[in-house]
């Protein structure tokens, strides 16, 4: 079937099998391999992207269901060569080791921060990222990075 999806601001058209999952449409049809697959059970969150601005697990949605919608992947987060505040915060706070979970963490965090509408407390970040697993970092620095980015994104003064 034919699908037309706006991915990172550009309209992309392709003929896909109905059973094509959104994550494989992004990775294999479009070559956007920043979005990862880490499980078979919809639990790890490595595949998180935005559909119409909201975080979703792209391994649990059909490409057909994204037809006509706007999808943002990690490749669409930096603009004009400037890293997104979350990308910068993960870098500065050492929020990653192997980096496999990072694209999903960043996409989930961005959706969380925008939905909250205010800078996030540590506890809110921990609860809000319950759908994203990391096997390396132990989460502490991920949480620090997201708290810091949420302050920047909502214009709060940076705290120590």
């Amino acid at each position: 079937m034919h699908v037309s999806v706006t991915v990172n601001g550009t309209r992309r058209e392709a003929d896909v099998e109905p059973r094509t999952l959104l994550v494989y449409f992004l990775r294999e049809t479009l070559g956007l391999t920043g979005t990862n697959v880490g499980c078979d059970t919809s639990t790890c969150g490595a595949c998180t992207v935005h559909v119409d601005g909201q975080s979703v697990k792209s391994c649990t949605m059909l490409a057909a269901q994204a037809d006509g919608r706007e999808v943002t992947t990690i490749e669409g987060m930096a603009s004009d060569g400037e890293l997104h505040p979350l990308q910068r915060a993960f870098h500065e706070h050492h929020g990653l080791q192997c980096g496999y979970c990072t694209p999903g963490m960043i996409m989930a965090s961005d959706s969380l921060i925008r939905e909250a509408g205010h800078p996030l407390a540590e506890e809110e970040v921990r609860i809000g990222l319950e759908g994203n697993l990391c096997r390396c970092t132990g989460y502490q620095n991920i949480v620090k990075a997201v708290v810091a980015a949420s302050q920047e994104m909502h214009g709060a003064p940076a705290s120590a």
Binding site: R19, L21, S42, V51, T60, M61, A64, G131
Partner: protein, 285 residues
């Protein structure tokens, strides 16, 4: 993993969905958010030959007042149910339970109607609906009908929905100000399903319990009412001893599963503890 091949058709309306299900026969299935169905299809535990997509039936995405009830459209996302102002005012129990389903990504895609239609005894919303004596609004080839929650959940992944039926909405009562509520979801990791869950709706009058409705999650093949607890509570004093004694009836008539999260015996014990906590919390609200 990737699902087995299937044909995909998008429904333009509820009646169109009913017609498409009729046209494609028994092997056709509805898909909404896909968060129950696609995981099963990836594991090839489900292999429908045709998917009829109702995900975009946006006219079924609403939460609104309907007299002394609240009506929740079937394609309303779990996140919207959780954030609903109407529910926050008139039935916070439903919003609370929806807000504890899965994780934020799951709640952005999973629909309230999909959760109800799936009939999974480990799901949270069905138990809450059973405790609230909710009504399901169903459209099928013979027109529309309303089914009480008690008659809707029939077995493991089995509901009153026929092969050509579409669930269009769910109606729950507005809770009076004197009514306390609680949903206790016990799990070891944040993202997990309930090992056991308990929904409580308690009406009090002058220091005693006028009426209590208790629903149990993951204590059998379908969501259940703890009738022994309800009977013991009718007219009972709202004090710790009486509540604990009533909670002791929680496992009566249940047949909980045994799995890596806990044995059936463990779940029976857990249900007593959670019913007691649910009653205490409901009465404190």
């Amino acid at each position: 993993m990737i699902p087995a091949p299937f044909e995909y058709v998008r429904a333009e309306s509820v009646d169109h969905a009913v017609a498409l299900l009729g046209e494609h026969g028994e092997d056709a299935k509805l898909v909404a958010g896909g968060h129950s169905l696609l995981p099963l299809m990836r594991l090839r535990l489900a292999r429908p030959s045709v998917l009829v997509d109702v995900d975009r039936l946006d006219d079924l995405a609403y939460v609104r007042e309907a007299g002394d009830q609240i009506e929740i459209g079937a394609t309303t996302r779990m996140a919207e149910v959780a954030a609903s102002e109407v529910l926050a005012t008139h039935n916070p129990l439903v919003a609370h339970a929806a807000g504890h389903v899965g994780d934020p990504q799951v709640r952005h895609r999973g629909t309230f109607g999909g959760s109800v239609a799936h009939g999974d005894p480990a799901s949270d919303p069905p138990t809450v609906l059973l405790a609230l004596d909710a009504q399901m609004v169903v459209r099928g080839p013979a027109g529309e009908r309303t089914v009480a929650a008690r008659d809707f959940f029939k077995g493991l992944f089995e509901t009153d929905l026929g092969p050509q039926d579409v669930l269009t909405a769910v109606r729950v009562p507005k809770l009076s100000t004197g009514t306390g509520w609680s949903y206790q979801k016990f799990h070891r990791r944040a993202i997990d399903w309930a090992i056991v869950g308990v929904a409580a709706v308690v009406e009090r009058s002058n220091g005693s319990v006028a009426r209590a409705a208790i629903g149990l999650t993951n204590m059998g093949l379908m969501p259940m009412r703890a009738e022994g607890v309800e009977a013991a509570l009718a007219g009972a004093a709202a004090e710790p001893g009486a509540l604990a004694a009533a909670a002791g009836h929680a496992p009566e008539g249940t047949s909980p599963p045994s799995d890596t999260n806990g044995s059936a015996e463990y779940r029976r014990e857990l249900s007593k503890v959670l019913v007691r906590r649910a009653l205490e919390e409901a009465l404190a609200r």
